[in-house]
Amino acid sequence: MRKFDPDRPWDLTTLPTTMAPKGSKPHAPTDDRCFLGAGDVPAAPKLQEAVATIKNWFRASSLNVLAFGTGCGAIELRPLSTSRFDMSRFGISGAPSPRQANVFIISGYLSTKTLKRVIRSYEQMPNPKWVVALGSCTINGGMYWDSYNTIKVLDLYMPVDVYITGCMPRPEALIAGFDYLMQDIKKGEANGWHHYLENLEWYRDNQKKVITDWDLPNYSW
């Protein structure tokens, strides 16, 4: 995950210290087993490490992308999945339901109305899961920076593991982005989902600031 800087308003240090202390369960009913390599099976550290490496290797090799076209960028996902670029050969495939997906592509801008559905779908995805953000809009609002209905900074509302810039990124850039994600997963560095659970309260606060008619459960299992 990215490093935190005290100058940022969303820095972790500004959070209440009672939040997600090490070893304790976060507020939401999370599942310990989803934490990578920690608290799983009592085993020797070296063995744990070896198991984690193997797990990560498997995970990186089967990415299942949730079928949710949240913005413009979704139009390049069809060419990616069809015969010309054929993402299947890279170990990437689509998944119709959040329950079967582990990669969420935020394909551009998010209106507040979609953000609510995105949060719900994201939380419904089983751990571990990764978020790929496409285009300018997810980084700093893109061309809709002054629109009343779109959010600007995606990582305030959900963790992002990889940013692919471009408007919109070509299928080739998407393949490169997936490759980047796979490397990160193999190294055990793509831990955005972990971060989300640890800091759920902070994310919730941010989410509730823009979603005025909040009616989601504490955690959408």
Binding site: M1, S83, G142, D161, V162, Y163, A176
Partner: protein, 594 residues
């Protein structure tokens, strides 16, 4: 449902044995198209930091960041692109006046940190900096207008030499607004203008038809704008960002248009300066543009200002140095009237001598000296004392004071500055056949290039690379102007110097030789003790950054001090002296400095 339709889809099996569409894995990252709109690149040497890219960007993706010192013609800013905003429309590339911005055909940039996607192209080194392919600006699609609205001129050209009326007719309202609309408001002109006029603001006001706003902006730091609007050397237009790949904006003509809209300036102008100078008095010696500027802006602040002018008319070089077909007398009188209306006292025909100066040092709180350069440089060739050889400056003064100037039928003017051109064009109007002789090449001439073109259109001949050797007397009062051709040689990397080609002598039979190769200061009127204190090696005056000389309370400016020798620089010195005098007298307060 027929059997045929059941079987039909199976025809697709024919494709099973053909070459697949799928891109081979090795070719996955094929390069973008030749004009692909990928990541930004910027030639920072070519970039002038005008910020037009940032202005057109509807995403607010471009910030101008200081990377270098601001110089004239380059703000020192360079665009920083935020890829959290960019939409790759490439309007920034298409609008770029200098053509420095481009786009590479590289398209892959992935990172887990969202903060890395901000960079200054060309400054922050990226792997795509040297890509030759990608989107570039093209001639056929221009988002700024490179073509100036042509200035209406007196036609036909032959008529110009028959009259003293203005050759340049001035824009109509429609033309002026169209020309003003070309401005991109980058502000580079403000840096180049010696007085730093609020150029983008008054151009915008002209564009919107708010001429009173424009005139107020213009008078904010220019006391003689109508003069500037007609004859300024316009350093602003040299650095105009539109001028890099097109005609620069006609800033001078727009200023002229705005000031000409009002015959009574005091009706539209207003000021709200605190009256800090009440009870203080300032003497201004020399009613040239610098002195008048000092006088005007001090008078606004309540100072009692008196201008002492040796000639019957104030204006200095702008009065006697500029022909009336460029700057008619009523224009000057209109501006001087505003000054007297607003409290400046003007004493003409009053030449200050050493004793009076001593008395002034007692009577006035501060003195501004702006007497300019009046002593002509000599030809430095044999025969320079012959009766038909005359300095241009004397001819101009005589002409403007209404004395008859005899130029005869054929005249040669030696020199390449604006004075030379003015002398030549006046001689032309007096009926002479005029030749200008200049040492260097045409492009080296310090005179305004429009002026050179105009003089040529009026039938003035121009001989360049011409070194005067001597002047000899011919019978019937004629003179033989003997010159040798020069070749341009570059020595030591400086600008090329003319070198005489030995052994060649050309002859030109003329009635008069008018020498316009510069003037020198003449400060003999100063008391010797003061003169010793303040004059420098070349006879001019040295000032500190407040415009004050080594003598306390004596300020100076204009051609005596700076080496640009144009009116607008003198006015800049005048403004420096205004601040300097206020500081010196200790009446300014900190709050109004901002």
């Amino acid at each position: 449902m027929s059997l045929k339709n059941v079987i039909a889809p199976f025809s697709a099996w024919a494709r099973a044995v053909q070459k697949p569409f799928t891109v081979p894995e090795a070719d996955t990252f094929r390069p973008g198209a030749d004009r692909y709109r990928g990541w930004h690149i910027n030639d920072t040497k070519q970039c002038i930091g005008c910020g037009t890219c940032g202005d057109i960007c509807q995403n607010g993706a471009i910030d101008m960041m200081p990377v270098d010192d601001a110089t004239k013609g380059d703000s020192g800013l360079r665009p920083l692109v935020d890829y959290g905003r960019c939409c790759w429309c490439a309007l920034c590339v298409d609008v770029c006046p200098s053509g420095s911005l481009g786009m590479s055909n590289n398209y892959i940039w992935i990172d887990r940190d969202p903060d890395v996607f901000r960079y200054i192209p060309g400054v922050d080194k990226k792997e795509w900096d040297d890509d030759s392919k990608g989107w570039r600006k093209e001639e056929g699609f221009n988002l700024v207008d490179p073509d100036r609205v042509p200035m209406p001129m007196m036609m036909p050209e032959e008529d110009r030499v028959k009259t003293w009326a203005e050759v340049v007719l001035g824009y109509s309202e429609k033309e002026a607004r169209a020309e003003a609309a070309r401005c991109v408001e980058c502000g580079l002109c403000v840096a180049a203008c010696p007085v730093h006029m609020h150029i983008p603001e008054y151009i915008a006001a002209i564009r919107d038809g708010q001429y009173d706003v424009a005139v107020n902006q213009i008078y904010d730091n220019n006391a003689l704008p109508e003069m500037c609007g007609k004859v300024c050397t316009r350093h602003c237009e040299d650095v105009c960002s539109i001028g890099v790949n097109g005609d620069p904006l006609a800033i001078r003509w727009l200023k002229r248009f705005a000031t000409e809209q009002f015959s009574d300036l005091s009706a539209v102008l207003s000021h709200d300066q605190p009256q800090i100078g009440v009870g203080k008095s300032v003497a201004v010696i020399g009613g040239g543009p610098g002195g008048l500027t000092t006088a005007f802006y001090l008078a606004i602040r309540g100072f009692k200002v008196t201008v002492f002018e040796a000639l019957p008319q104030v204006g200095g070089a702008t009065f006697f140095g500029i022909p009336k077909y460029r700057f008619p007398l009523p224009s000057l009188e209109k501006q001087v009237k505003l000054m007297t209306d607003w409290g400046v006292e003007i004493k003409t025909n009053h030449k200050v001598e050493a004793d009076e100066f001593k008395q002034m040092q007692q009577d006035y709180d501060a003195i501004y000296v702006g007497t300019g350069l009046l002593k002509p440089s000599s030809l430095r060739a044999e025969g320079e004392d012959l009766p038909g050889v005359m300095p241009a400056i004397e001819m101009l003064i005589d002409h403007h004071l209404g004395k008859t100037v005899e130029v005869g039928e054929k005249v040669v003017v030696v020199g390449g500055g604006n004075v030379a051109i003015d002398a030549a064009r006046i001689s032309r109007r007096l009926g002479a056949d005029v030749t200008i002789a200049y040492r260097r090449r045409m492009e080296d001439m310090p005179a305004d290039h429009e002026e050179i073109e105009d003089s040529e259109s009026e039938g003035v001949h121009l001989i360049t690379q011409n070194i005067p050797l001597r002047v000899e007397q011919l019978p019937e009062g004629k003179l033989d102007f003997i010159w040798g051709p020069a070749e341009m040689v570059s020595e030591g990397g400086g600008r090329p110097r003319p070198k005489l080609v030995e052994g060649v002598e050309n002859h030109l039979a003329v009635d008069k030789v008018i020498v316009a190769i510069g003037q020198k200061p003449d400060l003999r009127w100063l008391p010797t003790d003061v003169a010793e204190k303040i004059t420098n090696s070349w006879g001019g005056i040295t000032c500190d950054e407040n415009g004050m000389t080594a003598a306390a309370g004596v300020f100076a400016g204009g051609d005596l001090v700076n080496d640009t020798a144009d009116a607008v620089s003198a006015m800049a010195d005048g403004l420096t002296a205004v601040d300097g005098i206020i500081n010196y007298l200790g009446v300014g307060s900190k709050t109004e400095e901002g």
